[in-house]
Amino acid sequence: MITIIELYAQWIREGKLKVNSDWNKDLGAKFTVQDPCNIGRKSGSNKIVDDLRFVIKTVVGEENFIDTVPNRDNNYCCGGGGGALQAGFPDQRRAYGKTKFNQIMATGATYVIAPCHNCHGQIEDIGHHYGADYHVVHLWTIIALAMDMLAETERTYLGPDLAEVGL
């Protein structure tokens, strides 16, 4: 069992995945990341979440990545995990997510990369609920954008600043 994130990192290091951050040099779109508890803290090491940062910095540029505080194995859960999205306690789930929301807002990033579907759903929901205008994106979307191969139909989650990039 291996995660796709570790493979992305491995393929970049081996030169198989040819990707860089040139596309974002002038744009300067700012990204932060949500560390899913299951691949961070609960995996027993920071290996996967360190790979995650390596991949993100490679594709968006180190200067355009703003980490949350705290992060990696000490990161806060978004509040969408453990079945919370379907547990029937939406008020409590959103109150829980306020910690994550504040953490994201403090980064000032326009984009939150969420490599877990539960995190993706929850971070979008708390963004709408608390009135933020950040965008939540899958990691593969940004890799494909950086590789200039993101089709028009694959841009649902991009904001207006990136919607046309490379088309």
Binding site: L17, R93, M149
Partner: protein
């Protein structure tokens, strides 16, 4: 004013019950320092927090502990365990609290997703035929409309592939185009991969439901299919 707790009337049975299942849970080691609670985003929800839960458990307030819905608000993220100087396994307590509720009385949303997964292979209830149809259809669209990827290969149950990928069922069911970027990356690096038809979905709501049997069934079916039918050496988790 808060009512005094009458310890003489209490008997911590539930604690022993959980300790039987999770011997390293260490509830008695709690120093009541509150580090768990200070770093827990679920603290104070439903008038509960991790330290309070452990105190109530250790005092034998079994009825109140079991009655609280906080077990469904806690996400078992394990930040409390990381911070705890005594390494008390609070998420294991939460899991067992969830399991102490009769299965049919657990939250409908989680229960429904677990049941769908057992029945169809994915929490969103998409059967393997639907999954296969969707991915092959989306792949064909990409081949037709994006000349650079006219050679894109997406397969289900291809025997002997180096890697078997799981996929969160929300993608094929609610946003199938989102799988495209992943496939294109795999294509660019020349990855030798396939999807499994059996238990193809990456999520597992039976784990959240604290349905050990359902959880185990999903994993065993998946592993059996990979080992015996597909004979692939690697499983890749896509989230």
């Amino acid at each position: 004013m808060a009512e005094a707790i009458k310890i003489d009337n209490l008997d911590p049975e539930f604690k022993d019950e959980v300790l039987d299942k999770v011997p390293d849970a260490n509830f008695d080691f709690c120093l009541t320092c509150g580090t768990c609670t200070g770093g827990c985003p679920a603290s104070e929800q439903l008038d509960m927090d991790p330290r309070k839960l452990i105190r109530m458990l250790n005092l034998g307030m079994d009825e109140e502990v079991k009655k609280s819905d906080w077990k469904w608000v806690c996400s078992m993220c394990a930040r409390c365990v990381l911070a705890c100087p005594m390494k008390i396994n609070i998420p294991a307590l939460i899991f067992n609290l969830r399991a102490s509720v009769p299965r049919e009385k657990r939250p409908k949303g989680i229960l429904g997703s677990c049941d769908q997964h057992i029945r169809t292979g994915s929490a969103m209830g998409a059967a393997k035929e639907d999954f296969e149809f969707t991915v092959l259809d989306v792949a064909e669209e990409i081949r037709d409309e994006q000349p650079e990827f006219s050679g894109l290969e997406v397969t289900v149950d291809r025997v002997g592939a180096n890697m078997v990928l799981n996929q969160n069922s929300r993608e094929p069911v609610t946003e199938p185009e989102e799988m495209g970027p992943l496939w294109k990356i795999l294509h660019k690096v020349g990855a030798d991969w396939t999807y499994p038809s059996v238990m193809w979905a990456g999520e597992n709501y039976c784990m959240f439901l604290a349905d050990l049997e359902g959880w185990k069934y999903i994993i065993e079916e998946f592993v059996h299919h990979i080992d015996n039918n597909l004979k692939s050496p690697y499983v890749v988790n896509t989230e």
